[in-house]
Point group: C2
Chain length 202, copies 2
Amino acid sequence: MIRYPNGKTFQPKKTVSSQNRQKKPLSYSNRGMTLEDDLNETNKYYLAKQIAVIHKKPTPVQIVNVHYPKRSAAVIKEAYFKQSSTTDYNGLYKGRYIDFEAKETKNTTSFPLQNFHDHQIEHMKQVTAQDGICFVIISAFGQVYFLEAEKLFYFWERKEKNGRKSIRKDELNEAAFPISLGYSPRIDYISIIEKLYFSPNP
Amino acid sequence: MIRYPNGKTFQPKKTVSSQNRQKKPLSYSNRGMTLEDDLNETNKYYLAKQIAVIHKKPTPVQIVNVHYPKRSAAVIKEAYFKQSSTTDYNGLYKGRYIDFEAKETKNTTSFPLQNFHDHQIEHMKQVTAQDGICFVIISAFGQVYFLEAEKLFYFWERKEKNGRKSIRKDELNEAAFPISLGYSPRIDYISIIEKLYFSPNP
């Protein structure tokens, strides 16, 4: 054991932190961070380590009125939020195109499909048809899931045929891969892509 | 020759249109369209024909103040333009990641490199390192050019070493591929990608 001159024991921060993480699985409900924060941190890590280049797209905004004051930056005085026609995140890993959407729910029994809109599903189908790697990251039931787009389409079609409007917890556990939360990267979704698309025996 | 009952000859519209285009090469200087308009139309065409999925990213905006009026949409009352940390266009073609920036100049002798900023060049280097297909589309001297990112890096490094701050017209003609402008798609940059990256003898 190492002791500081003041008698306090030295605790290597990273190790302790990652040990804690291992023991107590993280959940978004009891942390100050959002899923988006953690994904942004994860993407920063991938970029810095030259593992992947993934960015969140800017929020689409319809700009109506801009003022150009003298000697200072242009100010947008009137603008409106637009619905995105694509997903929020895209980029590349080992030359392949990566595309995903991230969603959270506080529901305890199912994940509501109203979290997606038609345009996003349409976009994901176009990406899949063009051989892109497309999926959704879902934070639900104290767990983060990696759900391939094709599996999402199944639940979406069921809804379109007047079936359930949500994915039941047990269905999600069956269809999706759990992503273990860590310190760095926080949500290592690339490790799942590596296994699914780049390993000889997935 | 085919004649309508009223005596007028039948002219297949598309053929006539594309013949006209062939005879008189288009240039941005004498048209009402911008390079961005034509790229958006081109990308719509690729999407509709299931050739490629390429979108322009929304303009990044820093939102400071939003009003939420009763019974109507949220209004952004104060926001500022942010510098993008990436390029404007990305997507995929045959599973490969595509990333590019589009720039115009009215200069007649050279293309100024100040059209790019450090962050964009940095992003293009990250994409290239990750085996993405990265390039710039330049509208200059009455011509539209496809310049591979690696070639742009050469001119950028030269500037960084206190060399020329622009690409001379003859240098661009040497380094870049001309893109023939058409009716549909208007700027067929995918045909160049197909030749460079997917054909056995490029």
